[in-house]
Symmetry: D2
Subunit: 342 residues, 4 copies
């Protein structure tokens, strides 16, 4: 039984040119999904991106979080304990160091609700996405804290203020995973030839569908057409914990007409990826990561950031392609019908 | 290239006994994920569930949606057109019938923002999850409407009020996918022996972590520990479009102590699954669906509902097991450490 | 003690011209608030609106809701009871008629979470905002239902799925209060002279601040600069329950450049106002409502809708004025400093 | 015209005993609202609170925010500028000092979306709620920054990431206004005699209605029955900008049965109040503030915190009273009917 696998179709599309402070590469993009029409869609985006001079991408921030939960007798004591914990922050950092070579405590945020004390610890975790590393670190932190604050009782190693694989506001606001932005400028002429659209139409659609439409749907920190599709496919191709597409899907597409051309960007504040960890030892994953140049001998974190930047480029290509298609009545269904027949 | 696959580890866990108005079966649960510690966790939940007399599950509602987007000159005209469209609703149903044997228009909801008219059409789609079916139907509806309302212009076949694979409020409130609830009662003694916990501890943790913790995180229609993990694994094992775990993850765990025993439930309002469609033709998927009894000759929709019920049971087993583990300081990390070493 | 009052400064600003399917008037706008700089701001908006040919406004929908909450033994029984209640919907309408001359049951929506059954009843309530009317009707409905569904137990006359005076998604999606849109077109030249801005600047600011900025803030169905200020002032001036500015504040500003001119709109899906009911018998309120023409002998509901349209016009004037001011670095603070000194 | 006022009925209810690290007082509570049944409801809560030994309340945090918005050429430059601004943070503090005796810059948080840079500056503002103070400080900060980062252009003095008077997630997570918790323990016997209920019933209702019900409604960081009503009434009675009840309403009621008694708490993370500033010079407001002991000669901020604590006590009394009433079928409407007839 253990030898059984779900075989998800995998393809490399592109290539796409990608530059930024931490990257300068032309690479194909690996995608694995049952929704195979996605391959052609991302491929179109990659082709027009490369023809336009390529994509620029940058990591704005990175961290992984875990929120522990204590019970206090009341709010006043919860606050007193929180103040004591804050005064002890340097020691907390030492506790974390003792749990892992790579985990480093960089910040925290707290909430008190009645007698409940939630502390969200934030770490860098090297090249791992870091779920297990921060759980292990938080376990040690809880022990350390409870020894020093006898009024606090253990309630949970995770208090959902983390927040893992859930549609919440906290991650985008406080950070979880890589915060990545990818952008490009496409000359008006190439918008017409490759995308059968115009800069004006794509910008207008983005405002009406992604910004206003999502808002009407009660969307939470989300304004895009389908980041989730590209994230899933890239995650499955690279051995990621694909349940994290939930946070990843909460991103914002922003586009403008600049001197008649199309400037187009994807902002993904919670892109949780790693180049080491669970799933990364499976042979095909090792191959994919190596091919992407994410198994090089770099400082801790650099391989994972590279992976995040390539992932963001994949998201941009797929988002651009679908947005263009939607400006053409009929194109979307035609494409689906053709691809599914073949 | 087309012959390449992402090989995601797949296991059958359980078995679990499952009953309800539409199901009566004892079945193993198929899960495929890179996060292999999940297998043991769901398995524990399945064992205690079966020892307790099994899970009851029911489909509350089912529908698939697509929201089209029109531009009107102003709000007054948008409203006039909407009223005209509503008066023509019977004919819209006929238009939909012409696009598919299985799609049936059952309801609609509209939003007007300034001059923009969003109409969310809601359909039943037989045994398919229905993404493509409702897109095709909506394309025909847009053509039909634009012919009759000359003031309306096409803006987008999808206006994000649908809302597909995004963290929003609309799907839970108006419905998208199967709305499924699974529940069970576990005698106090079995909570102790199988789960190393007590009914009181699990109920208290659910209030503090899933309800209050998620609320503090700015959660949107979400109060659970990790539905996303089970959904991903079940979706990959059964050929589903796993990007729909985003809506699926927005569910609510509710537990109570009843006569000293534990009553535990998972409510999943947006469980998007199909037993036919994209991904279902892959050989291992066909095997899995057959083994689950979801390829039988039933009325349209019955196989998909059966699949949804089994999926909900998987979610319940995994949720229960993690919640119990979190009531025990240290158990969570011990389990991870042991499983990852093996 | 009962003779004591909070004296909130009240001013009439404008006048503004206002037309639509249900209104055709030129009227001053009554505003009461401690934040007196608002008077000048709304006044500026009213002046440019009138100079531009006036505001058009329309009521898209109207209803008031109350969600009752029942406890069932389990989800399967909850669903059976819900189906029984739905089959009995005509009789529920009769029950409601027996509680009030004006309350009319028009729709309902339900949610089941585990063993909990929430039913959101939706009513028209004549010229009253309707809080008390729907509470009274819902009390009768609960009694009627419990008599017929012996498995259901009373849990609460309000289950927060209503949802009253809270930041939620349900009201905008299902409706609560008047759903009103107000819009106007301002010639480019008047944008320059009255508002010291340009159509392009105001449109760009709306995208960046109201749409993207609010999204980043984790906003929920909200994309505006300060609807709450105008709503509060109008509500206090007209005897409304001003705690309903919470739902009211969740609205969307949408603007476009059209042929070089500025088209500007406010969409307020949850504007809860009444021309009769609590607070309306206070002498100054009676005067204000009479002056606005909202105490005429019309069909039930028409006076309240007229009031909602005038309120929406106030919101538009204030929103437009602040948005224009923000496009000018320094203007905002200058205005505040000047007004507060005077 | 300037001499006109909206006369909102004002009453003092209570008294209530209130203690905590910063307060020790027995005081009546001032409330002004058109919804006069509220007076009796809060009064009942105050009576049972005092009979139970009083309320404890504490300020967890305090700050006021304004988010400025810059346009950058692209995301990479936006990040470079942000890093430069962060390195200059000490000087930003000096800039703020130059704008006000009371404003003090204490923290900041940033978001980049495509080419847009939002910086949320956070300040303490003495005894003022601080809206104008932080706007003035932010204006100076923008000038300072633009002089040093020539690539940045002014877009808006407020970018809605603040976020003022809107239903968002950011304020609860990052802080805005006073973060206050009030709590008390009511002996089981007094729950029965004063509130005609039991601790178990109130705790259960809180879980089902405030936590689960609000979650189903798509609530955002909100789990309470009606904070908004008490906030409005207290704000109008004390000269506050009552549009800030929107953030204020986003709070959490948490209750537990402890040794058979009722422990009940209200957590209000965004209580925006001041004892000086707009509205505070009106004679009746001066009287009210003096009577509450909020015009004493204390260190800056202490009067405003005292006011916040008393406000939170008012919220607790009203919340408790309504929750108890809802556990009794019929009591709510009876109370309304009686009070409105009188």
């Amino acid at each position: 039984m253990n030898e059984s696998f779900a075989n998800v179709p995998l393809q490399w599309v592109g290539p796409v040119a990608l530059t930024g402070p931490e990257i300068n590469v032309t690479t194909e993009l690996p995608l694995a999904t049952y929704e195979t029409p996605l391959f052609a869609s991302v491929n179109r985006g990659a082709r027009v991106a490369t023809a336009s001079g390529g994509i620029k991408a940058v990591v704005i921030d990175e961290r992984m979080s875990r929120s522990v939960l204590f019970e206090a007798p009341d709010a006043i004591i919860a606050l007193q304990c929180l103040e004591k914990i804050r005064a002890d922050f340097v020691n907390l950092g030492e506790v974390v160091k003792g749990t892992s070579r790579f985990a480093k405590l960089i910040d925290h945020h707290a909430q008190i609700a009645g007698n409940l004390l939630f502390i969200r610890f934030e770490f860098t975790t090297g090249d791992a996405s870091g779920h297990n590393m921060v759980t292990q670190a938080s376990e040690a932190l809880m022990s350390h804290i409870i020894e020093r604050c006898s009024e606090l009782k253990y309630e949970s190693l995770s208090g959902n203020f983390c927040s893992d694989k859930k549609a919440t506001g906290v991650n985008g606001i406080l950070g979880r995973g890589k915060y990545v932005i990818a952008e490009l400028t496409i000359p008006e002429k190439l918008v017409r030839t490759y995308l059968k659209s115009t800069p004006e139409k794509i910008v207008q659609l983005n405002i009406r569908k992604n910004l206003i439409g999502t808002m009407l749907a009660g969307g939470l920190r989300s304004a895009n057409a389908h980041y989730a599709n590209m994230l899933l496919a890239f995650y499955l191709a690279t051995g990621q914990d694909a349940a994290n597409i939930i946070e990843g899907s909460q991103g914002i597409t922003h586009a403008e007409v600049r001197d008649g051309d199309l400037w187009f960007s994807v902002t993904i504040p919670n892109l949780i990826v790693g180049s080491v960890g669970n799933g990364k030892g499976i042979p095909f994953v090792e191959d994919v990561l190596s091919k992407l140049g994410c198994r090089e001998d770099r400082e801790p974190g650099a391989n994972a950031r590279r992976l995040a930047l390539i992932c963001a480029a994949s998201v941009l290509c797929g988002e651009l392609s679908l947005m263009a298609a939607l400006t053409n009545p009929g194109e979307l269904m035609d494409a689906h019908r053709k691809l599914e027949r073949s």
